[in-house]
C-alpha cells in the first residue's frame, strides 16, 4: 500500500512538488522568523555577557542599555569623573570599564575607554576580545578598530584616521588637527564592538581640548595643541557610562542601591539582562505580529495544498475504483489519501527546514557584517520543534478532508466511477 501511495505521488510529481514547495516555504518563513527572533535575542544577550551592572546618568533603563552598549541614541547626561572614581573604588567592585561616547568616524561610533576594556569585556559565552592584528592602545593617539570597521573601510595597521566631532547627519566638524594611528584590529565578535573605533579616554580629552564651546577654537584649529604630542593631559571631566564587574554577584543589589542613592549626582545602575527583557517587552507586539503573519502564511500554504489535492481527487476516481475492484477496503482508500497528504506535509516541513539551514549558511556572513547578528547553526530549538509539530498536526486536520471525500467517493462510486 505504501508503494502504491509513493508511486501514485511520483506519478503526479509536478503538482506534488509544488504542494511540497508551498508548505516548505511557509515552514521556512514560520521557523525562520522564530529562529531570527531567538538569534537576535541571544545575540543581544551575548553582547553584555559578564557585565554585572551598567552605570549611567539617570534615565530609562532601556535607554541607558541602548546607548551604552548598542550605541543607539544619545546619553542625556554624563557621569562626573569624580563620581566615577568614587564608585569604581567601592570594595565590592572587581573591575570597571569607563565608556565615553559621542564622536564618530564615517558613521562608526568612537568609544573612549581604558585598557581594561580589552581585559574585562566579555561577549557570547564569556569570550574575551581577541586581536586579529596589533595590540591595545597605549599612546594618546592610538586607535583600535572593531573587525567591521577595518573590513568595510579597508584599513590597515599604521594608517591614520580622523575622528568626527559628534555623530549622525549633523556631524560635520572633523578633528583633522589630531589624527589617530591604527594600532590594533579586533577579531569579529558579532556584537557592536565590531562597529566601534576604540581610543583612550586621554585621546578623546586631547582632541576636545579647545572644543569646550562645542566647536574648534583658534588654539586647536591652528594646530598649537596638536604640536605637543606628549603634553600632560588632565583627567577627563566626565564619561558617558561605565560597566561594572563585581567580586561577588550577591553584591549586585546592594551596589545597585548604592549607585541609585548616590548623593552628588543622579545616577542609575542597571542589570543588562533585566534591561534587555524590558526591551523585549517593548518589542513583543512587533514580534507577535510577525509570528501571526507567518502563521497565516502557513495556513495559506496548507490551503493551497488542500486545493491541489481536492482538485486532483476528481481525476483519481478511476484509480480509486481500480483499487476497490481488486479488494481495497474503503478505509484503505481513506488511509491512502491521508497518508499521501501527511507525506506531502512532512516532506514540506523537511524541505522547509533544509532551506532554512541552507539560507542561514548562505546569509551568515551578511548578517554578521551588516547587522552584527551572529547566528549559530544549531539544531532546531524546542519552540521550533513545536512549530513543526503544529504544522504536521494542521496537516493531519487538513488531510482528513480529501481523505474523507475519497472515502465517500469510493463508497458511492464503487466500481463505476463517473
Amino acid at each position: 500500500m505504501l508503494k502504491i501511495a509513493l508511486r501514485s505521488l511520483l506519478n503526479r510529481r509536478l503538482t506534488v512538488a509544488l504542494a511540497v514547495l508551498t508548505v516548505a516555504l511557509s515552514v521556512l518563513l514560520l521557523v525562520g522568523v522564530e529562529r531570527l527572533r531567538s538569534e537576535a535575542r541571544s545575540s543581544f544577550a551575548n553582547t553584555v555577557s559578564g557585565t554585572d551592572l551598567i552605570v549611567g546618568a539617570r534615565t530609562g533603563s532601556v535607554q541607558l542599555l541602548l546607548y551604552s552598549v548598542f550605541r543607539v541614541g544619545n546619553a542625556t547626561n554624563n557621569i562626573d569623573w569624580d563620581s566615577y572614581q568614587k564608585l569604581a573604588q567601592d570594595r565590592r567592585v572587581a573591575w570597571t570599564i569607563p565608556v565615553s561616547l559621542g564622536d564618530s568616524h564615517h558613521g562608526f561610533a568612537v568609544l573612549g575607554t581604558t585598557g581594561d576594556y580589552f581585559k574585562y569585556l566579555r561577549y557570547s559565552e564569556n569570550s574575551a576580545l581577541q586581536f586579529n592584528q596589533g595590540v591595545p592602545f597605549s599612546k594618546t593617539n592610538d586607535a583600535v578598530l572593531g573587525a567591521n570597521v577595518a573590513t568595510k573601510m579597508s584599513y590597515r595597521l599604521g594608517q591614520n584616521i580622523v575622528l568626527t566631532h559628534g555623530s549622525g547627519e549633523g556631524a560635520m566638524s572633523e578633528h583633522t588637527d589630531q589624527p589617530f594611528t591604527i594600532i590594533g584590529i579586533l577579531a569579529p565578535t558579532g556584537t557592536p564592538v565590531d562597529d566601534t573605533v576604540h581610543v583612550s579616554l586621554d585621546g578623546l580629552t586631547a582632541i576636545h581640548e579647545g572644543w569646550e564651546s562645542g566647536s574648534a577654537s583658534l588654539l586647536s584649529s591652528t594646530g598649537v595643541l596638536a604640536a605637543d604630542q606628549d603634553r600632560a593631559l588632565p583627567p577627563p571631566s566626565s564619561i558617558t557610562a561605565f560597566y561594572v564587574g563585581l567580586k561577588s554577584r550577591t553584591a549586585i543589589f546592594s551596589y545597585q542601591r548604592a549607585v541609585n542613592q548616590y548623593a552628588d549626582e543622579s545616577l542609575m545602575a542597571i542589570m543588562p539582562g533585566v534591561a534587555l527583557s524590558e526591551l523585549w517587552q517593548l518589542m513583543r507586539i512587533a514580534e507577535q505580529a510577525l509570528t501571526v503573519v507567518s502563521g497565516f502564511v502557513l495556513v495559506i500554504g496548507l490551503m493551497g495544498m488542500l486545493t491541489a489535492l481536492l482538485t486532483g481527487l476528481n481525476e483519481r476516481r478511476r484509480e480509486m475504483a481500480i483499487l476497490r475492484s481488486v479488494g481495497a477496503r474503503a478505509w484503505q482508500i481513506f488511509a491512502l489519501v491521508m497518508g499521501e497528504t501527511l507525506l506531502l506535509v512532512s516532506a514540506g516541513i523537511t524541505t522547509g527546514i533544509a532551506l532554512l539551514y541552507a539560507m542561514l549558511l548562505a546569509c551568515r556572513p551578511i548578517l554578521r557584517e551588516v547587522y552584527s547578528l551572529n547566528i549559530a547553526i544549531a539544531a532546531p530549538s524546542t519552540t521550533e520543534w513545536l512549530l513543526m509539530g503544529l504544522t504536521l498536526l494542521a496537516g493531519c486536520l487538513i488531510a482528513a478532508l480529501p481523505a474523507w471525500r475519497a472515502y465517500r467517493m469510493s463508497l458511492s462510486d464503487g466500481l463505476s466511477p463517473h
Binding site: K3, I4, R7, L323, R324, V326, G414, L415
Partner: protein, 233 residues
Amino acid sequence: MLIELADVQFTWRGAKHATLDMPQFSLAAGERLFLHGPSGSGKSTLLSLLTGIHLPQRGEIRILGQNLAALSNTARDHFRADHIGYVFQQFNLLSYLSVLDNVLLSCQFSRIRRERAQAFSGSTKAQALHLLDRLDLTPYLERPVSALSVGQQQRVALARALIGAPEILIADEPTSALDAERRAAFIQLLFECAHEHNTAVLMVSHDPQLAAAFDRSVSLASLNRCSVEAENA
C-alpha cells in the same frame, strides 16, 4: 451455484424508484454466461451488488453460498478480493505501476489468491509472468502502461483478474474499446485462461453479437423488472 440472487431489489439513495428488481439470477461453477444489457438496464447496479460494493434493500445475494448481507463492509471487500476478478470497460490499469505490478495488485489485497498463485507457479511473480506470457504480453513487461495499446491494456487487466484463480471473473464490456477483429480473439483468450484456472465467466455487454461463444446468454432486461428506468449510476 457460484452466484444466487433471490428477490433482489435495489434503490439508489435519493431515487424515487428502484433501479433493480430481480426475482432470480444464478451462475454455475465454471459456467460462461453472457449477460446482454444495454445502458439503462441496471447493469452497473447489478455489478455493484454482485461485487458487494452495495447491498440490496430487499432480497438475498449468495456468492459461493455466502450471504453478502451477513458480512461487514470490510469483510465484503475481503470477499471480493478473494473470489472475484474484475475487468473494466477500459482504463483498467494504474498508470504509475508497471505491467507486472498491475497484475500483482490482486494478490496484494487477498491472501487466498496470493497462496493459490504461489501453489500454481511457485511464486506470485512467476504466476503473473506465466499469465502475461499466456496473453502474449511478455515483450511489454518493461513498457510504461500508457505506452500499451487498448487491447494490450485489456489483456493486462485480464491477467490481473485471473491471477490467484478466483472463482468468478466479471467482465464489464471488456471488448467495447476493441475493434471487431480483436474482440473475438480477446474473448477466446479470456475463455482459455479462465478455463485453465477453472474460473466462471460473467460478461456483461450491450453487443449481442458476442453471445454465440458463451454457454448461456441472458438478456438483463428479461431479468430486471425495472429495466425501463434509466440507470442512476
